[in-house]
């Protein structure tokens, strides 16, 4: 054996967490590259939804004006695909724990949060994929950004940031559920009402009163409104503030819950 010394800087805390999470994020990315079919939910699936709703329902919803409907729909579908894109993260983490891979990480002198933070960091790639695919394919279908390059970039950045906050719910469920299949079941029970019961598909004023109440308090609603404002038209400042508050709230609640559940899980 060589005399290679194991360097172990004493510096812990946030810096070490960042370094370790980064190494673990790289691990997740390698896994993603090895199994490209795991990206279907952030590539092909959003496209299918976009085609389905534009050409199947668009005519009925917007009096036959599909082009106009696509302008309305795409920002909303972007938000929905982001929310759905986080589901796989909880499933993967659940499977990793079942396989015992996390036992190795637990036996190392790293922060307990590092494996979870690393996995979330790697999800940036998936959310970026949603944005690129949606805007790219949307453009082919006839969608046109009405604002400009900078607001569009802002919409992408906000989308990814929201995805990173929202996915902590999935991480938490991933720690609690017994199987990865159960993670998917539970998450869709949450994501479907949130995304359909919002302003994604139809203007809110066409809805009955009690549904409007739900839409008003739904975190997806201000996100969609902000993205619409940044890509097409409409106010930005108001819904953006509400969205940022929601994002902070999601982090404040679900990060501690996820970490606690992770520590408890033997």
């Amino acid at each position: 054996m060589s005399t290679l010394a194991v360097a172990r800087p004493a510096g812990g805390g946030v810096l070490a967490l960042g370094r370790h999470a980064f190494a673990l994020a790289k691990r997740s990315l390698i896994k993603t590259i090895r199994t490209p079919e795991a990206l279907i939910d952030v590539t092909i699936q959003p496209v299918i939804f976009l085609l389905l709703f534009t050409y199947l329902f668009g005519g009925a919803i917007f009096d036959g004006n599909r082009g106009l409907y696509l302008q309305f729909l795409l920002p909303g579908m972007l938000a929905q695909s982001l929310a759905m894109g986080g589901v796989a993260l909880g499933q993967n983490l659940n499977a990793d724990i079942e396989k015992g891979v996390f036992d190795r990480f637990r036996s190392l002198p790293i922060s307990r949060a590092a494996p979870l933070v690393g996995a979330v960091m790697a999800d940036v790639v998936r959310y970026l994929s949603v944005c690129v695919v949606m805007l790219g394919f949307g453009t082919i279908m006839g969608f046109r950004v009405q604002t400009g390059f900078v607001p569009a970039l802002g919409a992408v950045a906000l989308s990814i940031a929201f995805g990173l906050c929202f996915c902590w719910i999935s991480v938490w469920v991933g720690m609690l559920a017994r199987t990865s299949g159960a993670v998917q079941g539970i998450m869709f029970l949450l994501v479907l009402p949130l995304t359909f019961g919002s302003n994604v598909y139809v203007p809110t004023d066409t809805l009955p009163g009690f549904v409007q109440g739900f839409v008003a308090v739904n975190p997806i609603t201000p996100l969609v409104a902000t993205i619409r404002g940044l890509l097409v038209e409409g106010p930005v400042a108001g819904p953006l503030t509400t969205t940022l508050i929601w994002m902070a709230g999601l982090l404040a609640v679900f990060v501690p819950l996820a970490l606690r559940a992770y520590n408890k899980r033997a």
């Binding site: 060589s2 360097a7 790289k26 199994t35 036992d103 190795r104």
Partner: protein
Amino acid sequence: MTEDLVVHAEGLRKRFGKTQALDGVDLSMRRGTVLGVLGPNGAGKTTAVRVLATLLRPDEGRAFVAGVDVLKNPQQVRRLVGLTGQYASVDEDLTGVQNLVLIGRLLDLSGRDARRRADELLNWFDLSEAAQRPAKTYSGGMRRRLDLAASLVGRPEVIFLDEPTTGLDPAKREDMWGVVRTQVASGASVLLTTQYLEEADALADEIVVVDHGRVIAHDTPDGLKRRVGGQTLRVRPSDAARLPDVLRVLDLVAAAGTSASIDEAAGSRPGAASVPVTSDEVLDKLIPALRAERIEVTELALHLPSLDEVFHALTGRTKAEELV
């Protein structure tokens, strides 16, 4: 607590629902030695290892690794130990080298040092050729070796191996034993769990026998073998009709006061005879005697007592009886 105890545990208790996995376990291991923890499935071996490796908090009791309190300073303990679990916890989608580099990076090695350490270990574990392949393409034995390599990246002082050879064929088992011996020769202390007395005998300086979450014996391999009755010599003639002659020969060569018998234990293949022996010197007398009688054999072997026989000797009951 004395200085040279590298692992020391007192009164460990852990309950999972209705199962008392650990029911007051005391363990101690001297620095630079191998401690074998011997027991059947469900005896609490894995739970004990998980407690010592900081993966699990016990309900009661204290434990120290290299003098560091496992419960109070788990992070410090994690710098000192390497763990190889019962199920190879390698990442199947990563290649061999990626698995080891990741561990190195998590142990704060620089990228270059992590890579160098990975190459060194892969070479040492005979995995260099498979280094660039995803671990899911590895055989069971290769996976075990990679998993063990992963636990050695940080040059741990104390290595925990939970059933390192279960499911491996005999040749691979010997390889694994060689790895353990090398680690001890280079200064590490190894605590390994096993279901085989043979394995504990081959590797361990001391053996702890656990059953139902309790330690029922702690002895040297020789001391334990004396208590459970040493080895058995078994001879199987090619012609079953010669079995009475085999019995006669065995009685002749074996020590006075022991007598050979035809194997009738449940599960054993019929047509063989056995006699308890105290040393392998008996073989020197046996082989010429068999030749003189012109008895051809298909099996001639010295066996250590099985785990079942160990338990029978220590507790007066067999595991099979317990199930009834």
